[in-house]
């Protein structure tokens, strides 16, 4: 199977830039959230629509990023 409808965009979550990558694979949409700097993986989710997959990834990213303390 081939990934289709690949998309990448940046959003701000809790004051941090997050890169959202999503694509369709078969009947599912997959989404990956990375922090932009340094580019580390935060969450990978699936959904029946792109919106659902992105929403889940953003929720997980928000949980993780809210724990990051600035010194």
């Amino acid at each position: 199977m081939k990934p289709e409808a690949y998309s990448e965009r940046q959003v701000e979550v809790d004051g941090w830039q997050v890169n959202l990558t999503s694509y369709q694979l078969g009947a599912s949409f997959h989404c990956k959230a990375d922090n932009v700097s340094p580019g580390a993986w935060l969450a990978r989710t699936t959904g029946t629509t792109r919106q659902e997959a992105e929403q889940k990834a953003l929720e997980r990213a928000r949980q993780l990023l809210s724990r990051t303390r600035r010194q």
């Binding site: 199977m1 081939k2 700097s37 580019g39 580390a40 993780l64």
Partner: protein
């Protein structure tokens, strides 16, 4: 890719697609997110988990020679196999695996330029089929420690100015504003950087599609910070995987002879009692901020 010092150490996604199932080629996915492989991978690729298969799981160390031989044998890798590594995060842990394979003397190991991200962005085939390689009898060389820096060498580099230190973490980690990449666990007691280290975040070596910068741009990136191969270089990050990426760029793409990866990195230095730590934003090579 032909201008690089060792262009044979990089292959394109197209090359990997054409050769992944060749009998003498073994493609291996090595991800930060170790479950990404199960979602779909390059047809013919196997996976190595960095946190279980590419390190000693008891003490903090790379694989022993014996465990490395076992992993290669079980993976169907022979001493003359061409191993192509790729992974997420622009090949962070694929580069970590590359570094270990070079330490144990594997001759023909390559990175797939752009990694998993580029493969998917190009809409190339993914499969969930897991190959079952035939076992080999792999024989590794003794670890080549000229590729690896331990703490005493880093301390000497600091006191004697014998090697250039390159901190490849994000600017916020370098300055001490945060202790770990946003969203990841804090695994050190203090923030900041090793005094005198140059800040050259690993990602600056890549284009948007995850591939490495062309030779001249890559050379200029490091030269701007005084890293030109004229003196030994030690790269570090938090746990040694991002610095493997930079180590690869300096050693294999630019061809600088004496480059080491300090895999103890900030999780070692930032936890040492009494170690000197510098905080604040990076100085430019000219001395300004």
């Amino acid at each position: 890719m032909s201008d690089y010092a060792n262009p044979e150490t990089l292959v394109s996604t197209a090359w990997a697609g054409e050769h992944a199932k060749d009998p003498n080629v073994r493609v291996v996915e090595v991800d930060v997110d170790t479950s990404a492989y199960n979602e779909g991978h390059v047809p013919g690729a196997i996976a190595w988990a960095w946190n279980k298969q590419l390190c000693d799981t008891v003490r903090r160390d790379i694989l022993s020679q014996q465990d490395f031989e076992k992993l290669m044998s079980e993976s169907g890798v022979g001493n003359d196999t061409t191993v192509v590594l790729y992974g997420d995060n622009n090949n962070w842990f694929a580069a970590w695996a590359f570094w270990q394979m070079k330490m144990y003397g594997h001759r023909d190991v390559r990175l797939m330029n752009g990694g998993r991200k580029k493969w998917i962005a190009e809409g190339r085939d993914l499969t969930t089929e897991v190959p079952k390689p035939l076992r080999t009898r792999y024989s590794a060389s003794k670890a080549d420690l000229s590729l690896r820096a331990f703490l005493p060498e880093v301390q000497r580099a600091l006191s004697q100015n014998g090697a250039a230190l390159v901190d490849v973490r994000s600017p916020q980690e370098f300055s001490g504003e945060i202790l770990a990449p946003p969203g990841l666990p804090e695994t050190c007691q203090r923030g900041g950087h090793i005094p005198g280290a140059r800040s050259i975040p690993w990602g600056k070596a890549c284009r948007d599609d995850g591939t490495f910068l062309p030779y001249e741009e890559l050379k200029a990136l490091y030269a701007e910070e005084g890293i030109d191969g004229s003196k030994p270089v030690i790269a570090y990050c938090r746990i040694g995987e991002r610095s493997s990426h930079t180590w690869f760029a300096l050693k294999h793409l630019l061809g600088y002879r004496n480059v080491k990866n300090y895999d103890g990195s900030w999780t070692e230095w930032g936890n040492l009692v009494g170690a000197p730590v510098e905080r604040g934003a990076a100085l430019t090579a000219g001395g300004g901020r």
